[in-house]
């Protein structure tokens, strides 16, 4: 048993912590207010070789394992949850399935460009009428010689407008439900592809989210990811991995909120003393810190299991995602409470943290879906651990 980070992991953490403090946190509030994409920070991460953090080194990425990625995403989210999700999506749900299911041709065409930051990626499963119930997609893909023709509406896609490549799930056989889904690598320049409107969101305002409009979109058969009918499996295994990233993002936001709350509580005075001297405030801080640690160990456990590659980690990823996302909502709320009226104003970052936290219990599998996954695994096992 060993709870310490390796030297490499510590170096990664310290490098990113420093970068985030100097370059990400100072601009995050303004970008949020303007709903502006953090393009400069994305380019800086690419220069540092960390934009494609989970892409294998052979394809120009940093080759981080899941534990390393979790550490990195936590650090980035401490300054900007929007930047963290941009990076997490590019790596975990766009590059990730290409690494695992792509042909050599597909890897060679896309992974180096994603790693260098020439292109950003996204993942598109959700539709206006199909979120948690992901097996029932309306988007259709019809084979036409060396091409597939995709038609349908996709919703809530991260990295729209700025993204060039999207892993899109569509039904190649509508009668077979989940078994009739297939994954495609769709470029924004393919005929019949367009972006729908950008969503006006509560939080993660500088991450761009919106719909994809596919009208007889011509996708070369060479861009089919995996086999026909393998799409649902690809999507679910991708989400298992991505959930660890969202859990890490949650821990990072919570840490940002705790650090702000601590700093504020030490300097804000009431009734003649810093409010950090009052038990009411101390107890909130203690609960925040404890639940952050609990979430982080769940995240690291899930990541480390995934890195073993020979054991299932679905249940542990769901536990990490469920706990961390629920945790960050409580922690961000408490950070606002400690700030009082200042916490409700955009002058202090906790207002942004509270808005950013909200989506973590929703995307990449709602808390309700995580509980279903965990309960299913629990009830499947003969003797519970």
């Amino acid at each position: 048993m060993d709870f310490t980070l390796t030297d490499e992991q510590r170096l990664l953490r310290d490098t990113l912590r420093d970068f985030v403090t100097r370059e990400v946190s100072p601009e995050a509030g303004e970008l949020d207010r303007r709903s502006e994409f953090p393009g400069r920070a994305v380019r800086r991460l690419a220069e540092m070789g960390l934009l494609g953090m989970a892409i294998p080194e052979a394809y120009g990425g940093a080759g981080l394992d899941a534990a390393g990625s979790a550490i990195a995403i936590e650090e980035i989210a401490r300054g900007s949850a929007a930047l963290a999700v941009t990076v997490s999506v590019t790596n975990a749900v766009c590059a990730g399935p290409i690494v695992r299911y792509g042909t050599e041709d597909q890897k060679g065409r896309y992974l180096p460009r994603l790693a260098r930051g020439e292109i950003l990626g996204g993942f598109s499963l959700t539709e206006p009428d199909s979120g948690s119930d992901a097996a029932h997609l309306r988007t259709r893909a019809i084979r036409d010689g060396d091409f597939y023709s995709l038609t349908g509406e996709k919703a809530w896609v991260t990295n729209v407008q700025v993204g060039h490549l999207f892993v899109v799930l569509a039904a190649t056989n509508a009668d077979q439900g989940a078994r009739g889904l297939t994954a495609f690598l769709v470029e924004r320049d393919f005929p019949g592809f367009s972006f729908a409107k950008i969503e006006d969101k509560m939080g993660l305002r500088s991450s761009l989210t919106g719909g994809l409009h596919l009208q007889d979109c011509r996708v070369p058969a060479l861009n089919r990811l995996g086999e026909e009918g393998q799409g649902f499996k690809i999507a679910m295994s991708t989400l298992d991995a991505a959930r660890i990233g969202i859990a890490a993002q949650s821990v990072g936001i919570a840490r940002g909120a705790l650090e702000e709350a601590l700093a504020f509580a030490k300097q804000r005075k009431a009734f003649g003393q810093p409010i950090s001297q009052f038990q009411a405030i101390q107890f909130m801080l203690a609960d925040m810190a404890t639940s952050i640690e609990a979430a982080r160990v769940l995240v690291h456990r899930a990541a480390q299991l995934r890195d073993r590659k020979d054991v299932p980690f679905t249940r542990e990823a769901s536990m990490a995602k469920l706990f961390a996302s629920e945790m960050v909502n409580r922690v961000a709320y408490q950070a606002v409470q400690i700030h009082g009226a200042y916490g409700y104003s955009r002058e202090f970052p906790v207002e942004r943290f509270a808005r950013d936290a909200r989506v973590t219990t929703i995307y990449e599998g709602t808390s309700e879906i995580q509980r279903l996954v965990i309960a299913r695994k629990l009830l499947e096992s003969v003797s519970t651990r």
Binding site: M1, D2, F3, T4, L5, T6, Q9, A67, L262, K266, S276, Q279, Q282, F283, L285, A286, D287, A289, T290, S291, E293, A294, A295, V297, L298, H300, R301, Q304, E316, M319, L322, F323, E368, Q370, R371, L372, I374, A375, R376, L378, L379, T384
Partner: protein, 380 residues
């Protein structure tokens, strides 16, 4: 980073898991009802060398690490929370301070027989008027004839009725407050040392809690543990480690709640199907399972930090706070899943519910843990 226990640690866990299922669980309800101290459980634990898990082999212990210790306490508590705390008190609150602060002679006289489980130890800090505010000790120890004379009352003393040796805290110099407290090893049968009232409790009913009264109780100077005035430091150091044991006990209780509730939900039918098929039940089970895992990981993290030899007060407080509250929440949910049966002592969850509550109170209440954690945060 490697968060799983080692194969050696897992082997100890599995051994204790089998033992607890075979020997401890079947008698747990009986002892809960009768409130009889389970002395035969202690004897059996002694045969497996579980009474001095972390004590060096030289002094009669098993010489294992703190992580292994948490696995032992979790498994025992899964079967019987009273047995869990009985073993935990002998290990953490008696053997640990004697090994850490005792003279060679004290280790020979007191440590080895307790580590081997031939004798049972207890820890006497709480008083009727001094719980969380442990520095406010009213029990006094005055010098007389080269020894000490103790006067005062201690209460809520786990293992008290069965204890052969008590580690007793008393003030040798009230003017120095915390720094005037000293620790003494007092043997059963010492004149002026008697039991006060039996403590009838909500849960962990058979852990032998009792009030202890000291009336002109003479203790030789050779029974002073550490130096005069070191008592508060000894108590706080001891409780840091004790909290890891209680966190492990809480994880054991929470796991018992989860496992029994899962088993029941699979077989109990309502509206034509097992209640495990309803989302309302599934979600309770999922939340319990997630929190149990988080609590166990925090407990292992604290034990691991202790094993590294540095400071671990923060980690221990976080583990104890989180795990104890998880035990209570899990117990509430388990009773709810059992419905009316959960309220009956025919099923064990009723006992788990009563047992869980104490974990939020003893060896530092949740409120004390939060103060410890906040002090650590604000110090940085």
């Amino acid at each position: 980073m490697r968060l799983e226990p080692t194969p050696e640690q897992l082997a100890i866990r599995d051994m204790v898991r089998d033992f607890a299922a075979r020997e401890i669980a079947p008698v747990a309800a009986h002892h809960d009802r009768t409130r009889e101290f389970p002395i035969e459980n202690v004897r059996k634990c002694a045969e497996l060398n579980l009474m001095g898990v972390m004590v060096s082999e030289e002094h009669g212990g098993s010489g294992l690490d703190a992580v292994s210790y948490t696995l032992v306490i979790e498994e025992l508590s899964r079967a019987c929370a009273s047995t869990g705390v009985i073993v935990s008190v002998n290990n953490s609150l008696f053997c640990h301070p004697v090994e850490t602060f005792g003279s060679e002679e004290q280790k020979r006289r007191f440590l080895a027989p307790h580590a081997r489980g031939e004798k049972i130890g207890c820890f006497c800090l709480s008083e009727p008027e001094a719980g969380s505010d442990a520095g406010n000790q009213q029990t006094t120890a005055f010098h007389e004839d080269g020894g000490y004379v103790l006067n005062g009352t201690k209460n809520f003393i786990t293992n008290g009725v069965a204890a052969d040796t008590a580690l007793v805290f008393a003030t040798t110099d009230r003017s120095k407050k915390h720094h005037g407290i000293s620790a003494f090893l007092v043997e059963k049968g010492t004149a002026g040392f008697r039991f006060g009232k039996d403590e009838v409790k909500l849960g962990i009913t058979c852990s032998g809690s009792v009030e202890m009264v000291f009336e002109d109780c003479r203790v030789p100077a050779s029974n002073l543990l550490g130096e005069e005035g070191m008592g508060f430091k000894i108590a706080m150091n001891t409780l840091d480690g004790g909290r890891i044991g209680i966190a492990a006990q809480a994880v054991g209780i929470a796991r018992a709640c989860l496992e029994e509730a899962t088993r029941y939900a699979r077989q109990r039918k309502a509206f034509g199907r097992p209640i495990a098929e309803f989302q309302a039940i599934q979600f309770m089970l999922a939340d319990m399972a997630t929190e149990v895992d988080a609590a166990r990981l925090l407990t292992h993290r604290a034990a691991w930090a202790k094993d590294q030899g540095g400071r671990f007060s923060l980690e221990a407080a976080q583990a104890k706070l989180f795990a104890s509250e998880v035990a209570m929440r899990s117990a509430v949910k388990a009773v709810q899943i059992f419905g009316g049966y959960g309220y009956m002592n025919e099923y064990p969850v009723e006992r788990y519910f009563r047992d869980a509550k104490i974990t939020e109170i003893y060896e530092g209440t949740s409120e004390i843990q939060r103060l410890v954690i906040a002090a650590n945060l604000l110090r940085d």
